[in-house]
């Protein structure tokens, strides 16, 4: 026996040990070691594909550019009028021809990626095509970063946030327990968290209830409503400053113990805020979040230090989520749901149970069948099959691959197909035994004859699986993955492994007991 110990059987033994050792963490669900992660369909969770409305990012970019234009001109004492913006351009008029050269130079230096065109003293500022493209891409990657940091801050276990394709975002959050939690998470993701501090147009605000949107626009104003009451405010459309200048946001409590959000502005923001409040004493300033007015306090004096408070009769959990959203920054562009799949934890557990039962039953059926049909040759095939299962688990564990419900189906299917190689080989061996060849010769030639068929068949199946992997999404990828790993592992176990075992035990094979060894009746003329 020792003499016939060969490299094949050694290789198979190593593969078997490797398979068992590395699949233990996954099978016992131990804390340490690399494990197979369960897909969302098996452990429960939320899977979403989000689209990004990047055109909104362009529009808000125009808005903040308009704010910059105003700030620059005010700072340099350039007199201007009729500063307006819409989704594709900013227009303004200069009143003094002497300012033209200075203004043009300033805008060129300060606002990159824009093109200025003039018609007399009327100017229009547009973004270049590259700048638009860049803004869109920025909006998407910013959304990915923002959503990721929001989910992380919320304290969720291992959420996945990734850009998919050109303009989609994949969000996967495992382990959500209730419908309420899921909704809260979705709201947290969706929150634009676009904070603006806006001046109330005190000259015209008394007429706000009768004013049309178009009329407000003609003054460079917008009409926004209060978050809790139907009260309307007429506000200057170009904000004093926005959430991009915010450095921190925390939940606090006011005098009457209501939750509020305190936020701090960065240096530049604090300066702008200080200057503005200094000029605007006696008038009101609105704190606007996602186009709702949360409060519009009167400015009593210049406010330095850059600390602002939002109060809006919040629930504590709402204030908590809002503070997270503000800290993680606003979404430049709103996101919307293109695809959503959510699975409750109990359904996932049921799926694991039923597919495991199917896997075990199918496995046992195949093993019994192989034993009855092929005798010891069937047992050898079964050893290879068990080795194959462990190898699949081990390889998936090492790569931290995700096991999905279709992935389970893939493993079940592999069990059926992996024994195929052994069926082909055993049939070939039987054929040669019937033809009167010796056992050793039959085994060697059997493997040689069977090899091309198994190889070609497996390669073509692999081609189909690869295409499925490349074009499949989510759970389907899992199916293609387990099937591919299964096929490749079966090449090692079913071909090399069983061949090695035959060579190893060849001296033990009793030529008189063909029924026991190969499941065939007496062979005529056998030596």
């Amino acid at each position: 026996m020792v003499k016939t110990l060969n490299y094949r059987v050694v290789l198979f033994t190593f593969a078997l040990i490797f398979g068992v050792v590395f699949s233990i963490p996954s099978l016992t669900q131990s804390e340490s070691g690399k494990k197979i992660t369960l897909g969302l369909d098996l452990q429960g969770g939320l899977h979403m594909l989000l689209g990004v409305k990047s055109e909104v990012a362009i529009e808000s970019r125009m808005k903040s550019m308009a704010a910059s234009v105003k700030y620059i001109f005010d700072d340099e004492d350039i007199i201007f009028d009729e500063l307006r913006f819409d989704s594709d351009k900013i227009t303004f008029e200069l009143l003094d021809t002497d300012d033209v050269a200075k203004a043009t130079k300033l805008l060129k230096d300060e606002l990159e990626g824009t093109a200025l065109s003039e018609n007399g003293l009327k100017f229009s500022l547009e973004m270049t095509a590259e700048e638009i493209k860049r803004t869109q891409l920025d909006a998407i990657s910013q959304a990915v970063d923002t959503i990721r940091s929001r989910l992380n801050e919320f304290g969720l276990a291992e959420p996945t946030v990734a850009k998919q394709g050109e303009d989609k975002i994949l969000v996967e959050v495992p382990g959500i327990k209730t419908q309420e939690d899921e909704q809260r998470i979705r709201e947290l993701i969706a929150r634009a968290a676009h904070l603006q501090l806006m001046a109330v147009d005190e000259d015209r605000n008394t007429r706000v209830n009768t004013m049309s949107v178009a009329e407000a626009k003609s003054y460079g104003d917008v009409i926004l409503t209060d978050v809790n009451t139907p009260e309307k405010y007429l506000l200057r459309a170009i904000p004093v400053l926005d959430g991009s200048m915010l450095t921190d946001a925390k939940v606090g409590f006011d005098e009457s113990n209501q939750p509020v959000i305190n936020f701090t502005l960065n240096g530049q923001g604090a300066k702008i805020f200080g200057d503005f409040t200094g000029q605007y004493v006696g008038k009101r300033m609105a704190v606007v979040l996602d186009n709702k007015v949360y409060s519009a306090p009167n400015i009593n004096e210049r406010i330095g230090g850059g600390r602002v408070q939002i109060s809006g009769r919040f629930e504590l959990s709402e204030a908590h989520d809002l503070a997270i959203a503000l800290r993680s920054g606003s979404l430049l562009a709103p996101v919307y749901v293109m695809e959503k799949r959510s699975v409750g934890p109990s359904l996932g557990a049921d799926s694991i149970k039923s597919s495991s039962i199917a896997l075990m039953l199918g496995f046992i059926l195949v093993i019994i069948f192989m034993f009855f049909y092929y005798g010891m040759a069937g047992v050898i095939a079964n050893v290879a099959l068990i080795g194959n299962l462990f190898l699949i688990l081990a390889i998936m564990s090492l790569f931290g691959a995700t096991l999905t419900l279709p992935g389970m189906a893939g493993i079940v299917l592999t069990v059926g197909m992996a024994v195929d190689a052994n069926v082909i080989i055993n049939e070939r061996i039987r054929e040669l035994l019937h033809a009167g060849k010796s056992v050793g010769k039959s085994i060697e030639d059997g493997y040689n004859n069977a090899f091309t068929a198994i190889w070609d068949a497996n390669v073509t199946t692999l081609i189909a699986a690869t295409v499925l992997y490349a074009y499949g999404t989510g759970a389907i990828k899992g199916f293609a993955l387990t099937m591919s790993i299964g096929i490749m592992a079966s090449m090692l176990t079913a071909i090399v492994g069983t061949h090695g075992i035959y060579q190893w035990i060849l001296p033990k094979i009793d030529k008189k007991k063909m029924g026991f060894w190969f499941g065939i009746k007496k062979v005529e003329g056998n030596k």
């Binding site: 409750g344 359904l347 496995f363 059926g416 197909m417 073509t460 499925l468 389907i476």
Partner: protein, 324 residues
């Protein structure tokens, strides 16, 4: 145990016309069904929302229908039992883009007070745009897989083998699709995966028969293709049937015990295993015959290839010996 003991070749090819007629009838029926009744696209491809709800005890299905009808978002929604009487599935063509409150949240508030309500177990929502994208991708995957297989088989065998294999594949997939339409299974991504698996599986079977034919062409003296095919198919009959049986067993357990969610998937595979086995025995090889495959020609080509290789080796040997 031996069930299929090879004694002499079965005269399969002489009956090939009969099987051909059978296949053509099945194909016409399948095509007819696909064209007239059409696929019942599930939400993956058509877009919409699917909500699975679990109840304690029997679900009050008519009550659920009434409650749901009160909300406009569920216009035209269907409510059916799912797997058992404790669970129902609500399907609607609507989908919402809104992250904050979506169709599933509404279902929760609507159904919360119905008798025995336990939980919303699963919500799948696919926007119409994603649905059509997935459909395109699915079709693309099919086509690419077939092209890949065509190239590989042409390379390893000969183009006629490749064409015959692919025609057999189209045969299997079409009939499986016909069955899907007939039974009214909802076509979702998992069904696409099942069809692609059939592609791989049926090909597996066909390749093994073709491999034997290729071997037969090299070793069997009589250059009569029909005889070679008969002998090769007969010799692989045992293997084809056995493997199909083992695969059939496991797919059957998957169908019976794998749970409601993979029912459609395992059903499609069951059909595929049966049709795939039939086609690799009775369809693929006769096509080879009809395509006018010539044994003599193949042998000449093989011989020429061998000769070229020999010559190359000779040249190399001469070169290495320094005689060139």
């Amino acid at each position: 145990m031996e069930i299929f003991k090879y004694k002499k070749p079965l005269s399969l090819m002489s009956k090939s016309k009969r099987f051909g007629a059978l296949s053509i009838v099945a194909l016409i029926l399948a095509f007819g069904l696909i064209l007239t009744k059409g696929f019942n696209y599930g939400i993956d491809f058509a877009g919409g929302t699917l909500i699975q709800v679990q109840y304690e005890g029997k679900a009050p299905i008519s009550n659920v229908r009434d409650v749901i009808a009160t909300d406009k978002a569920y216009e035209g929604a269907t409510v059916t039992f799912f797997g058992s009487e404790d669970e129902i599935v609500i399907k609607t063509k609507m989908s919402s883009q809104n992250l904050g409150e979506d169709v599933s949240d509404k279902v929760h508030t609507l159904l919360k007070d119905t008798q025995g309500f336990k939980e919303v177990r699963r919500v799948d929502m696919v926007g119409a745009k994603v649905g059509s994208e997935l459909r395109e991708q699915g079709l693309m995957a099919m086509v690419l897989a077939i092209i890949g297989i065509l190239i590989y088989v042409s390379f390893r065998f000969e183009w006629r083998f490749a064409v015959a294999a692919v025609l057999a594949l189209v045969h299997d997939v079409t009939i499986a699709m016909g069955m899907i339409v007939l039974v009214g299974i909802e076509v979702n991504l998992d069904i696409l995966a099942a069809l692609l698996t059939i592609l791989g599986y049926s090909l597996n079977d066909t390749i093994i028969v073709f491999d034997r034919i290729r071997e037969g062409i090299r070793t069997i003296k009589n250059p009569d293709l029909e005889g070679i095919i008969n002998e090769s198919v007969s010799r692989t009959l045992s293997r084809t049937t056995l493997t199909s049986l083992t695969t059939f067993f496991v797919v059957l357990t998957l169908f019976l015990f794998g749970g409601e969610i993979i029912h459609g998937f395992s059903f499609t595979l069951l059909v595929g295993v049966i049709v795939g086995t039939y086609s690799s025995i009775f369809v693929a090889s006769p096509i080879l015959l009809w395509l006018g495959f010539s044994v003599g020609g193949f042998r000449e080509k093989e011989a020429a290839k061998l000769k070229r290789e020999k010559e190359k080796e000779k040249m190399r040997a001469m070169y290495e010996n320094g005689t060139l």
